[in-house]
Symmetry: none
DNA sequence: GGCATTTAAGCTTGACTTAAGGTTGGTCCT
DNA sequence: AGGACCAACCTTAAGTCAAGCTTAAATGCC
């Protein structure tokens, strides 16, 4: 985890940097707004601590420029002024948290931890097999990073397969899990379904085990 | 956007709820820890405001139980005590932000906005998609810089969509976040609502995914 | 009373099912 | 071993039905 500290008071900066390093963070420290803007735009950070009272360039301006440039890393703002109007302004400008001087360095670390934790919480658990990925939250499927359209039923079916990699899945098992009631078994719905999936994901993506069921094919190096 | 307020002082609760509702949020208010825990576990919220001094069950305990149960919605903690040790404890327990009494209700709203924004993964306050923009603070919507009139419900719905770009949003999810009571699901309110939004923003602004839900259409430049 | 929201009813559409004929692979018989 | 037979599976296309659309009228909230 890498954190940028933009703070003109060298003593405060050193304290914060030390506390973060104790927490196993990598820390860059800069002391004015111009430099801060430059580093925030060109380097990659997991979080930023930004003082509002800065020489050369006002902190809020720096923040706005980062946001305009599409930088989304969490930002914790430090200020000497303790007015709620200030805070509202800062938060509207795109800050994620706010701290008023004086503060304890432990609190800075705790807040940075909370910010990074939250920012990381969006990484959703995507399922994957070979070049195929499935994202349960956005309901999207890709093959070789190309999006593939899936109907609701196809999506459920593929999802079931990816949840049981290596397993051989019988037609009965499939019907039981992708339909909410039991189903007439002398129908060929499943075969049609598998057919549609193979058309979309490559014929060899799912292999057939006669009389037993279907299975994700071991190594997906075709197409 | 739907927010849960857990606060035992009815006056404070009412003030906060009123301010949030002015901001087009849907608000549920409960007054003790037990009830708070229950609602946080069973209902679906975009953010929670949690008072630490609660009857029946301590606020921090409630928070920890939510986190243990895998609930990840952003939580803003309110407290009367202003010690940094308290704050560190709260943040470590899984809070995302912290506010000390007394506070201005405007600041509560600004922080909730910031939390929801961060949780959805974007950084700037004005939401945009293609040529459509939505400003949560002034509650104004424009398309190609032309203002568009929106009813409260339409605004909440559009806002929810813009907070979850790329996501496919089911009817159930929509009802949960734009109404505060549960709803009869064999009604077609959502369909009618989507229909009105499409009339105002262009038929192709929202696309349908049969059996799954609705989604902002990928590239909507220059309709 | 006026406006926002919901209900209701008929219509449209496309996802899923059915059905029919083709293909494959295993097995048994000579 | 070779071939014939059968069952399991594949493929395609057409039909059906429920999900979603649309409009208008009814309801309910300021």
């Amino acid at each position: 985890m890498r954190v940028l500290v933009v703070e003109d008071n060298p003593q405060v900066a050193r304290q914060i940097a030390a506390a973060l390093q104790r927490g196993a963070y990598v820390v860059d420290v800069v002391s004015d707004g111009e430099e801060g803007e430059f580093f925030g735009l060109t380097e990659s950070y997991d979080a930023v601590i930004l003082d509002l009272g800065l020489p050369k360039c006002e902190g809020l301006t720096v923040l706005q420029r980062w946001r305009q440039a599409g930088r989304t890393m969490p930002v914790l703002i430090l200020t000497a002024r303790d007015t709620w109007r200030e805070k509202v302004l800062g938060l509207r400008a795109g800050a994620d948290d706010y701290l008023t001087k004086p503060f304890e360095v432990e609190e800075v670390v705790a807040r940075i931890e909370a910010l990074i934790r939250r920012a990381a919480g969006h990484a959703s658990a995507v399922l994957a097999w070979g070049s195929v990925t499935l994202d349960p939250s956005s309901q999207r499927v890709t093959i070789r990073d190309q999006p593939v359209e899936m109907t609701a039923l196809e999506f459920r079916t593929l999802s079931y397969f990816l949840h049981h990699p290596h397993a051989i899945i019988s037609k009965t098992e499939l019907t039981e899990h992708i339909y909410n009631q039991d189903f007439d078994l002398d129908s060929n719905v499943i075969e049609v379904l598998i057919n549609r999936l193979r058309k979309k994901l490559g014929a060899s993506f799912i292999s057939t085990h006669r009389g037993k069921g279907y299975q994700l094919t071991a190594f997906d190096h075709e197409t």
